[in-house]
């Protein structure tokens, strides 16, 4: 049991580090865009001072870009903050749609690297009692593996839902006729799935992850 806990902790720390690296990279990108636009405004101001004539559209374009990047940075940091706080309590009720929204956002850069387009749906009221940090780490690792194995520009559908006393997350190509082999859970995913009392099912192009709606009521976990 101690060995399993240590394994789970290590996986969570590794994933946290990866997410931290990805987010710091994204923040550097947004800061770079803000920096370039601030520099461009300085250039334009210098041109105006030289009576060079400056288009109002160029100034508006630069300030709008700065505002967009500030908003983007804020969204990225909010996500990191939410993810970090998911470790505040070991077990809690979580809203599945909110968790999917968060993890899909956190992994969006990985999807963008393969130009994978992700659509996701989940009824708003689905909740489960689980280990929030481990659950988010599992989904993050799973989604990253899926994006890596997907073809360039693949369209993916991630669906959250509930079945009897379980919650289910299904991942499939949006085009049901697309030929695509999803990766089987590996040595990092399996301990997490077991830790959360879950199971996975992998059939043709559909990957289904099933977790108990209430981990406290599930004798296996």
């Amino acid at each position: 049991m101690e060995q399993q806990d240590a394994t789970i902790s290590q996986i969570c720390i590794d994933t946290f580090a990866r997410i931290g690296a990805s987010i710091s990279h994204e923040i550097k990108n947004t800061l770079s865009i803000i920096n370039e636009n601030a520099g461009l405004l300085e250039d334009l101001a210098a041109m105006a001072g030289d009576d060079g004539g400056v288009s109002g559209e160029r100034i508006k374009g630069a300030t709008a870009s700065i505002a967009r990047q500030v908003e983007r940075s804020n969204g990225i940091m909010k996500n990191l903050n939410r993810f970090a706080h998911s470790g505040d309590v070991p077990i809690a009720w979580v809203n599945l749609k909110e968790v999917l929204d968060l993890v899909i956002d956190l992994s969006s850069r990985q999807a963008a690297m393969k130009r994978v387009v992700v659509t996701h749906t989940c009824p708003p009221a689905v909740e489960c009692r689980t280990k929030p940090m481990a659950f988010e780490v599992l989904l993050y690792e799973l989604f990253c593996r899926v994006y890596n194995s997907a073809e360039e520009e693949a369209d993916l559908l991630i669906e959250g839902g509930e079945q009897a006393s379980s919650i289910v997350v299904e991942i499939r190509p949006s085009d049901r006729h697309a030929s695509w082999s999803l990766p089987a859970p590996d040595a990092r995913l399996l301990p997490l799935i077991n830790h959360l009392g879950g199971t996975f099912h992998h059939e043709q192009e559909v990957f289904s992850l099933t977790l108990p709606r209430d981990i406290m009521a599930d004798p296996a976990s």
Partner: protein, 126 residues
């Protein structure tokens, strides 16, 4: 300045952050550089094959081919081409690998434009 000669210095910006690439392009153009921007690894190689630039500003993390792979391919055909890795990716290993593959320098974003231009001048011997 590099562009003091009649022929403007040709800079290729390879970065998947479209707004970064377009804004840096605009600022360099204001300084009379001839600039093209592309947003993926494959597009970088295509642009180089079509019109060889004097300098490539290369991001590391891009769709299809990442920057290190692009750099390795550039070096096969253009060992003398000036390539600066310009990235927000802070991995020490990636920087080391980039220099091993023959990058002229590894510059972290955000970058001071005057510093960047000075580096280009030094590399091109202007």
């Amino acid at each position: 300045m590099i562009q003091a000669t009649n022929k403007p210095t040709k800079v290729l910006i390879a970065d998947d952050e479209v707004e970064f690439a377009s804004t840096l392009m605009a600022r360099l153009q204001l300084r009379d550089f001839s600039v093209e921007a592309v947003n993926s690894g494959k597009a970088t190689l295509e642009a180089i094959a079509k019109d060889l630039p004097d300098v490539v500003l290369l991001d590391l993390k891009m769709p299809d081919l990442d920057g290190l792979e692009v750099l390795a391919r550039i070096r096969q055909d253009h060992p003398e081409l000036t390539v600066f890795i310009l990235t927000g990716h802070g991995s020490f290993e990636a920087g080391k690998e980039g220099m091993k593959l023959g990058a002229n320098d590894y510059i972290m974003k955000p970058v001071d434009l005057n510093r960047l231009i000075k580096k280009m001048e030094d590399a091109l011997g202007s």
